[in-house]
């Protein structure tokens, strides 16, 4: 057990180092950061000045050692756009992104279980077919477009909800729904198919034969066994939400989390802030992966982790 987690931690470290090295290579070698970050009309002297200021005039291996050294102290340098430490900006924005991701995936999780079970009770029935069809539609609608439609209907036409911002709980409603929909569609499908499998097992029949109530058989015995793939997918959805969806959803609703900050950093060509954001997101992804392993073990004690 302990050995397994050590292995996973090492693997996670590999991911984080891989991401940072890739970002380093892309920003320093493939592209020319000075060219990206300075306006076209800058003079040669300004360029040299800027290079010196960022330490880009030194040989690449010195830069790399310096970069990795800064990494161990969580120091990426000052954001070019806001002129203050990039990590401080990241830590300010991180809670907002986590809030949105957990709300969205949490909503998807709690809705998917009853919907998936109802569909699984009568495979091929009317409720099953409509659930599957609606899930397919949910998978096919682009997330950014769904967000815009919600804004047009509920903020512009009906005026019930604010379009963007973070001030009140009402501001959370539309971003959460937008975040939840694709995850909900995938989760419903997986709850449905793994419940169908479980309900066809012999032990379910035995439970019914013993006279255990319908709700207990379905909601406790079968659901517990069907939970493992659902938890796996939930972890993946959380990772997708933090590492991908947040960029899109936060841009649509002007939700000032890490995703929107990443887009702003790209627009302002602030590669330093961008590096800090990507590093943080990579760490989050690794952490969620490890938490998922712990959750597996708690759900299914038979599982041998190797």
């Amino acid at each position: 057990m302990g050995r397994y987690f050590l292995k996973r931690l090492l693997q996670g470290g590999g991911v984080i180092i891989g991401v940072t090295v890739l970002v380093f290579v892309v920003t320093r070698l493939v592209g020319d950061p000075v060219k990206v970050m300075l306006p076209l009309e800058a003079t040669a002297e300004q360029r040299a000045e800027f290079e010196k200021q960022l330490g880009l005039d030194r040989p690449i291996h010195v830069q790399f050692v310096d970069f990795m050294g800064g990494l161990t102290r969580l120091d990426f340098g000052d954001s070019l756009w806001q002129r203050r430490p990039a990590m401080r900006i990241v830590f300010e924005k991180l809670p907002l992104t986590l809030e949105l991701a957990f709300m969205g995936i949490g909503l998807a999780f709690f809705l998917s279980i009853p919907l998936g079970i109802i569909a699984a009770l009568r495979p091929g029935g009317a409720s099953d077919r409509s659930t599957v069809f609606l899930s397919l539609i949910g998978l096919s609608v682009p997330q950014f477009w769904l967000g815009l439609l919600l804004i047009v209907v509920f903020a512009v036409q009906l005026g019930w909800l604010p379009t963007s911002g973070v001030d009140t709980p009402a501001h959370l409603i539309m971003p959460t729904i937008t975040m939840a929909l694709p995850a909900l569609a995938r989760l419903v499908m997986i709850v449905r198919s793994s419940m169908i499998d479980e309900l066809n097992q012999q032990y379910v029949r035995t439970c019914f034969a013993k006279g255990i109530s319908f709700y207990r058989v379905v909601g406790v015995h079968a659901l517990r066994n069907a939970a493992l793939p659902v938890v796996t997918l939930c972890g993946w959805e959380l990772i997708r939400a933090v590492a991908g969806y947040s960029v899109v959803v936060e841009t649509v609703f002007a939700w000032p989390g890490l995703g929107l900050t990443a887009i702003q950093a790209i627009e302002r060509e602030d590669l330093i802030l961008l590096q800090a954001i990507v590093f943080t997101v990579a760490v989050l992804v690794v952490l969620i992966n490890i938490l998922m392993d712990v959750a597996y073990k708690a759900i299914d004690p038979r599982l041998k982790l190797a």
Partner: protein
């Protein structure tokens, strides 16, 4: 082949999906012939014209015009070209790379296998969209770079699937026989192992196609994908966003186009999975039998509890 078509006809969702996909491909191929205008022709006197059925709408611009007076219908028709091209190119590049690495890993085994699998595990845990955005910001967004970046992010699924399937086929008698007879490893892999993987790989490729169409739209929406003056549905939604409160049609129609395309592809994929996965087939068969039995059994004499 005939029985396959029969089966397709019986699955209404699957056949609708296929018909829609074929129609989309035809539309993309014949875009300049069908579209009433060129997607870039501006008509500044008819800016932000609403669709026909609205007040002030006219048959000149059936789905209205954007802020430069460009015909929305023509742009939607031309946009299909970008989505389908990017989707097909990425599936082809990422698929080829992933399948080759998966074949090598599964067939060679040992150190090669563990190296490739560790590579895949590491890259799967990367925050793909953010890295794509950085790469695009540094090397400059265009259709070519979007294809490259999405391929770079998407080959791992093919690698995993292929390797797993190779491992399960490797031990079979016919592969051993082929090796015994002295077939070269290239021949064994391409002639005896790869054909077994056709249907799961095809299903995966179709699912990935749907995912890529959405990813391209999202990148273009974020301004890091297809650049103007080229057309893309995602890009059109992004420009329409600025006129959202005055001209709802600018955001709506390109979004509907994306949704319909992805839905059609998803319908085809789920049908493919139903017919190609033996486990699914078995379940379907069992379901049909149960339905038959229910029909013929007298009331109250059902074998299974009413689940």
């Amino acid at each position: 082949m005939k029985s396959l078509l029969d089966e397709l006809w019986r699955d209404k969702a699957g056949s609708t999906g296929i018909v829609m996909v074929v129609a989309l491909i035809l539309m993309a191929a014949a875009a300049p012939l069908i579209a009433p205008y060129s997607p870039t022709t501006q008509d500044l006197r008819a800016r932000l014209a609403p669709p026909v059925w609205e007040d002030n709408g006219s048959w000149k611009h059936i789905l209205g015009t954007d802020h430069l007076g460009r015909d929305v219908l023509s742009r939607v028709i031309h946009g299909s070209r970008v989505s389908l091209t990017v989707g097909a190119a990425v599936v082809l590049i990422a698929g080829t790379f992933g399948v080759i690495l998966g074949l090598v890993a599964g067939y060679r085994g040992g150190r090669t296998d563990s190296f490739i699998m560790r590579w895949i595990d590491t890259q799967v845990a990367f925050p793909g969209l953010l890295i794509a955005l950085i790469i695009l910001a540094v090397i400059g967004p265009s259709m070519l770079t979007v294809v490259l970046v999405l391929s770079l992010n998407g080959w791992m699924v093919y690698g995993r699937l292929t390797r797993g399937a190779v491992l399960s086929v490797r031990q079979t008698a016919y592969v051993e026989a082929a090796e015994m007879v002295g077939c070269s490893s290239v021949r064994v892999v391409f002639r005896h192992i790869l054909p077994n993987l056709t249907s799961p790989l095809l299903t995966l490729a179709i699912l990935e196609f749907a995912r890529i169409v959405l990813a391209e739209a999202a990148l273009s929406f974020l301004g890091m994908g297809i650049q103007p003056p080229a057309t893309s549905w995602g890009l059109d939604v992004a420009t329409g966003k600025n006129y959202m409160f005055r001209a709802w049609w600018l955001v709506t129609f390109p979004g509907v186009a994306i949704s319909i395309t992805v839905l059609a592809v998803n319908l085809v994929a789920s049908w493919m999975r139903l017919i190609s996965d033996p486990q699914e087939r078995e379940k379907q068969f069992a379901r049909q039998m149960r339905a038959l039995r229910k029909k013929h059994a007298p009331q109250g004499l059902q074998e299974t509890p009413s689940l």
